[in-house]
C-alpha cells in the first residue's frame, strides 16, 4: 500500500499577526511556524496504520511552501513517514486552494497512491477545500472530518463528526482520501532515535512550476484585523484590581451577581 500525507506549516496561532506590505497575507517575519494541527492527526493516523499492517505501507509526506516547511517534513519523517516531497514555492500564499489541490494531484498522478490523508483544514487559511478537491481530481472516494478510522481488507470505516456531537459512520474502498479532525488520535512526539533516523530519509525537492498547470479561480482582495466590537472593556494590571473592576461591572451590567 502506498500512502500520501499532505501537510502544511502554519504560524503558531497565539502569535501577533502583522500584514505584509501588499496587505494580502500576514507578514512571516518574527512568526514561529509548526505543523498544522489537523495535519498532525493525518500523519499520526498514517503511521498507526503502517504499524498495524506490520510496516508494509510506504508513507510519503508532502508539503508545499518555502524552505522553512522542511522542518515540518522532518517532524513527519521522525513520526514515522518514510520519505518526503517538498514542493518548493516561496509564493505559496498567492496560490488559491484550487491551485494547491491541483499541484498535489499533479504530484500524486502516476505515483500509485492507494490512500491519502490530509487535515480537514489549515489553521491559517481554513478553506477546508484542498483535501476534498485533491480527491475529486484523482477520482478517489473521500470522507471528511474524521474522528474515527479503521481499515480492513481494502475498506475504510470512517466516523465523520457532525454537528451537535453525533457521528456519521461511512465505508469507502481504496483508493480513498480522508480529511482528519481533532479527536481522531493523539499525535506522538518524535523520539530522539527516530529524529536521528529521519535525518537519513529522502526529501525530494520539486519546484512548484513543474507541477502547476492551473490558473487561480479565487484571489485575495484585502486582509485586515477584525473590527473590535464597540464597548468591550479590556482590563489589565494586578489581579485584585482587575477583580474589583470586574465585580463592579458585573453588578452594574448583569443581574447574575446581585444576590451574591
Amino acid at each position: 500500500m502506498k500512502i500520501l500525507v499532505c501537510i502544511k506549516q502554519v504560524p503558531d496561532m497565539e502569535s501577533r499577526f502583522k500584514l505584509n506590505s501588499e496587505g494580502t497575507w500576514y507578514d512571516e517575519a518574527d512568526l514561529a511556524f509548526r505543523m498544522n494541527e489537523y495535519d498532525e492527526y493525518a500523519v499520526e493516523q498514517a503511521v498507526q496504520l503502517k504499524e498495524r499492517l506490520a510496516g508494509e505501507p510506504e508513507i510519503t509526506v508532502l508539503s508545499l511552501g518555502p524552505d522553512r516547511v522542511v522542518e515540518a517534513l522532518k517532524k513527519a519523517l521522525a513520526m514515522g513517514a518514510d520519505r518526503a516531497v517538498h514542493v518548493k514555492d516561496d509564493k505559496y500564499y498567492q496560490k488559491d486552494p484550487w491551485q494547491v489541490a491541483s499541484v498535489i494531484a499533479g504530484h500524486a498522478a502516476g505515483q500509485g497512491y492507494d490512500l491519502v490523508f490530509t487535515g480537514m483544514q489549515s489553521q491559517d487559511r481554513g478553506s477546508a477545500q484542498v483535501g476534498v478537491t485533491v480527491a475529486e481530481l484523482l477520482g478517489f472516494g473521500c470522507a471528511t472530518t474524521l474522528v474515527g478510522f479503521a481499515y480492513e481488507a481494502g475498506v475504510i470505516t470512517a466516523k465523520r463528526e457532525l454537528e451537535g456531537g453525533s457521528k456519521g459512520v461511512v465505508k469507502l474502498k481504496l483508493p480513498a482520501l480522508v480529511t482528519c479532525q481533532l479527536g481522531l488520535n493523539t499525535p506522538r512526539y518524535p523520539t530522539l532515535p527516530n529524529i536521528m533516523k529521519a535525518k537519513k530519509k529522502e526529501i525530494l525537492v520539486q519546484p512548484v512550476s513543474e507541477l502547476l498547470k492551473e490558473a487561480e479561480v479565487t484571489g485575495t482582495g484585502g486582509m485586515y484585523p477584525p473590527a473590535k466590537r464597540g464597548g468591550g472593556i479590556v482590563i489589565e494590571g494586578e489581579v485584585n484590581d482587575q477583580l474589583d473592576k470586574l465585580m463592579g461591572i458585573l453588578k452594574e451590567k448583569t443581574t447574575v451577581l446581585r444576590a451574591a
Partner: protein
C-alpha cells in the same frame, strides 16, 4: 444575479439553516432557486423553484450522488452562485461541486462588506476578502452568520430531480448518537468554560469551582473535551452545544469561530486570557488580560465570600 441555495436534511429533518441561505441570498440581492435532497413531506417555506431529490432514494450522505443532483440543478438554473452552509454537509459537498465545475469556492463567508466576500483566517485573528475569478462561484456561509429576517413564507414550486444512479464511492452505514448528557447547558444561566489555556486536566477543576461558586455550569472548548479533561456534553460550539446564558466566562479560550458559534448569543461575556489580541476579545464585553490560574481562583474566593 441568480443564486442556487443548497438546503440540508439531516437525521430525518429539514434543517433551519435553510433560512440562513435565504437571508444570504437576500443580502446578495440575488434571485434564488433551491436544491434539497430531502423528503417531499418536509419542504422549506420558500417562494421559488425547488429541485427535490428524494432522500429515500439518494440517502442523507452520499456525496457523489448529491453532487450529481446539484450539478443537474446548476445545468437547469445557470446560477452565478451556488451557496451551501459551511456545515459537515456543506464543507464536504461544496468542493466536490466546485471541482466538477472547475470554478472557485469561497469558504465560510462571515460577512458581505461592500459586497465583498469576507472570511476569517488565523483562528479569527485576521479577516480577508476573497474575490472570485471564475464566471460562477461556490460559496459556503458560516452557520449563524446570516440571520433570517422575519418568518419564512411561501410554498416552493417543486421540480423532482432524478439522476442516473451509479452507486457513489461512499457507503453510509448509520448515525452514532451523541453521548448521553449529564448536564443541559442550553438552560444554564451562567456558564464558566475551560479552554486549552487552562493547561492540564487538574486545572479544569479550578474552573469548575468558579462555576459552582457562581451557581452555574462548567462548559468547555473542543480541545479540552478531546483531551478527555471534560465530557463531551460540556462542549460549547459548532460540534457541541449552542448556549445562551446570561453570563459566559471563557477561561483560556482563544475564540475560534467554531467555539464562538456556540456561545455568541450569551448576554454578557467575560474572557480571561493572557493574550490581549485573542479573538475572543472581539466579542467579549470584558477581557481580563491575565493568567487563568491566577485570576480564576481569586475570583472564586471573591464570589464564595
Amino acid at each position: 444575479m441568480k443564486a442556487l441555495l443548497i438546503a440540508e436534511y439531516r437525521q430525518g429533518k429539514l434543517l433551519d439553516t435553510t433560512y440562513e441561505l435565504q437571508a444570504f441570498a437576500g443580502l446578495l440581492g440575488a434571485e434564488s432557486a433551491m436544491v434539497l435532497v430531502g423528503s417531499p413531506a418536509d419542504l422549506p417555506k420558500f417562494s421559488g423553484k425547488l429541485y427535490l431529490a428524494d432522500v429515500a432514494k439518494y440517502g442523507e450522505y452520499n456525496p457523489d450522488l448529491h453532487k450529481k443532483v446539484v450539478l443537474e440543478a446548476v445545468a437547469k438554473e445557470n446560477p452565478d452562485y451556488i451557496v451551501f452552509v459551511h456545515s459537515s454537509y456543506g464543507w464536504d459537498l461544496a468542493p466536490r461541486v466546485a471541482a466538477a465545475l472547475r470554478v472557485g469556492q469561497v469558504s465560510e463567508v462571515v460577512g458581505l462588506p461592500d459586497g465583498k466576500f469576507e472570511v476569517t483566517c488565523c483562528n479569527a485573528k485576521l479577516r480577508r476578502t476573497v474575490a472570485p475569478k471564475s464566471a460562477r462561484t461556490v460559496i459556503t456561509i458560516q452557520a449563524g452568520a446570516f440571520s433570517p429576517q422575519g418568518e419564512p413564507q411561501g410554498a416552493p414550486q417543486v421540480e423532482v430531480i432524478d439522476v442516473a444512479d451509479p452507486a457513489g464511492k461512499t457507503e453510509f452505514v448509520g448515525y452514532e448518537a451523541a453521548e448521553q448528557k449529564d448536564v443541559d447547558l442550553t438552560r444554564a444561566e451562567i456558564i464558566v468554560s475551560a479552554g486549552r489555556g487552562v493547561g492540564k486536566k487538574e486545572n479544569v477543576q479550578v474552573i469548575a469551582q468558579l462555576a459552582k461558586a457562581l451557581g452555574g455550569e462548567l462548559g468547555a472548548s473542543r480541545p479540552v473535551v478531546d483531551a478527555g479533561w471534560a465530557p463531551h456534553s460540556h462542549q460549547v460550539g459548532t460540534t457541541g452545544q449552542t448556549v445562551s446564558p446570561k453570563l459566559y466566562v471563557a477561561c483560556g479560550i482563544s475564540g475560534a469561530i467554531q467555539h464562538l458559534a456556540g456561545m455568541k448569543k450569551a448576554d454578557f461575556v467575560v474572557a480571561i486570557n493572557k493574550d490581549k489580541d485573542a479573538p475572543i476579545g472581539e466579542i467579549a464585553d470584558v477581557l481580563i488580560v491575565a493568567d487563568v490560574m491566577q485570576f480564576v481562583p481569586a475570583m472564586t474566593a471573591r464570589c464564595a465570600r
